[in-house]
Amino acid sequence: MPSVSQTPPPHSMPDLAARQRAMARAGEATSDELRAALARTGAVTEAQDLRPTETGLVMVRGRIGGDGRAFNAGEATVTRAAVRLPGGETGFAYHLGRDRVRARLAAILDAHWQRPEARPALEAALDAIAGRRAEAVRQAARKTAATRVNFFTLARGED
């Protein structure tokens, strides 16, 4: 099995912030959405595992008082995948939960995203996924907003 450390160091990666954003958005997608996104680019979903897709733990850190010293709040399950395409691009995914199929698809998407010719189609697919999610968040925000308290003060006293 090839070593995981074959990934180029971050400074040589183009558009690090854009890649982080794409990985985050892929993390919000369902397996079906990821499959559909890959299919749109005509990208093969064949990839070699750099490391078997596996579920493990991360320790979730909080901060005392919300903004102070770090403390260990408890763990969370995380599933990670690391793949390499026939062209040599490596892709990764780290997702909360235990869905290995989804994590592996997201890692394949991350690898394809690094191919400039595949990127626009994948970005368009991720836009659609993000749009679906944003609508759900917007609706939840509207329901929350309806429970906002509007205080009013009753006048009392002599003046």
Binding site: V60, I64, G74, T144, V149
Partner: protein, 373 residues
């Protein structure tokens, strides 16, 4: 101690088969799905995640199904599962200031930037049993309103008050290693970070009772709820092979900022002190109780006498874990035949000696008396 006892294998197998059947209940009633538990018993799922110290709603729901709804048993299953997994590392410290709020209230400040939003709460309900739920009718859709402009950024209340110097600041992050009680046994005195880890996974009933005791006078700290916020926070993790942080997704959390009686010294003018609570999911009762006990456990640091249970670190941390507590209490069920046989022999001998002494009341043999004591 307990000793190995042979026999009973068939009885144990059959007891577990019976357990599986009883767990299922009346076969004429449809079986619960894990998704139903996750969606409709959400606060129970949140409690199992918090006390199991593992964020995974589906796993907690499954554990509850397997445990027939027994919280401590479900916590046991979740904790056992986590021991089978490798740990990839620790997340970047999460930012509750960036929470997507589902609820946010303050009992100390009426007018907050971002406002007070009640969200889904039992508060102000009449606590009358709703028999309409028996029929399973769909609820009326929730009301909607346009979020106000200031709802986009809701600073923590403590950050607002802290700016005026009225509130003690949070202990600064100086990059010190973060203690982990799942990796090393706790040494006392334990630092506040370690105490918060213990309180976060502690039994809700135990922490609640201790918090309550501080309000009733056993370690009075005169608390106010500065803020409770419930909502989703993004987690970031930096994998070694990537060297840059990636988003893992979001977790639902409840945070409680308790504001407590003033404290001052020659060097520091009087200011409010603080207690902090943070739990998985929606768990206000637990987060509030945790914040009360966090503050009372700071007694020594703040120059208060340590006289009551809620101020005693070792008493609190060594007894707050429901799994440890149940392990030691429930192991008493297991065969103790040899231990008890030894005790029985001793009592019989002492009784015989006692009877012999009673027959000869004049004699007073100090060696026999010692043995009886």
């Amino acid at each position: 101690m307990y000793v190995a006892v042979k026999g009973g294998e068939a009885a144990i197998d059959n007891a577990h088969r019976l357990l599986a059947e009883v767990r299922r209940g009346d076969p004429a009633v449809p079986e619960l799905t894990v998704a139903q538990i996750r969606e409709q018993m959400r606060l129970l799922v949140d409690r199992v995640m918090t006390e199991g110290s593992l964020y995974d709603p589906d796993l907690a729901a499954l554990a509850l199904k397997q445990a027939r709804g027994d919280v401590v048993e479900a916590v046991f299953l979740v904790r056992a599962y986590r021991t089978t997994l490798p740990r990839f590392g620790a997340t970047e410290p999460l930012d509750t200031g960036g929470m997507t709020l589902a609820r946010r209230i303050s009992a100390t400040f009426k007018d907050l930037p971002g406002g007070q939003v009640l969200g889904p709460t039992f508060d102000y309900t009449h606590r009358l049993v709703d028999f309409a739920l028996e029929d399973g009718a769909d609820p009326a859709p929730a009301a909607e309103a346009k979020p106000e402009a200031d709802a986009a950024a809701c600073p923590r209340v403590t950050d607002l008050l802290g700016q005026a110097g009225l509130l003690e600041p949070s202990p600064p992050d100086e990059g010190a290693p973060v203690g982990d009680l799942t990796r090393e046994p706790v040494d006392y005195p334990a630092d506040r970070a370690l105490r918060l880890q213990g309180l976060a996974r502690g039994d809700e009933g135990f922490i609640l009772a201790l918090g309550y005791s501080t309000q009733r006078g056993y370690g009075r700290t005169h608390p106010f709820v500065g803020e409770i916020r419930v909502g989703a926070v993004e987690l970031e993790f930096t994998p070694e092979e990537l060297g840059f942080p990636v988003s893992l997704g979001t977790v639902d959390l409840t945070e409680c900022q308790m504001i407590n009686q003033f404290h001052g010294s020659g060097a520091v003018p009087p200011q409010f002190t603080r207690g902090y609570g943070l739990v998985f999911g929606q768990g206000e009762r637990k987060a509030m109780a945790m914040a009360l006990v966090d503050r009372s456990l700071r007694a020594a640091e703040l120059g208060e006498a340590v006289v009551v249970p809620a101020q005693d670190q070792e008493f609190v941390l060594a007894h707050c874990d429901s799994l440890q507590a149940t392990g030691f209490v429930e192991h008493m069920k297991l065969p103790h035949y040899v231990d008890f046989q030894a005790e029985l022999e001793l009592v019989r001998r002492l009784r015989a000696e006692h009877a012999a002494l009673a027959a000869e009341p004049v004699q007073d043999d100090p060696t026999l008396r010692e043995a009886a004591e």
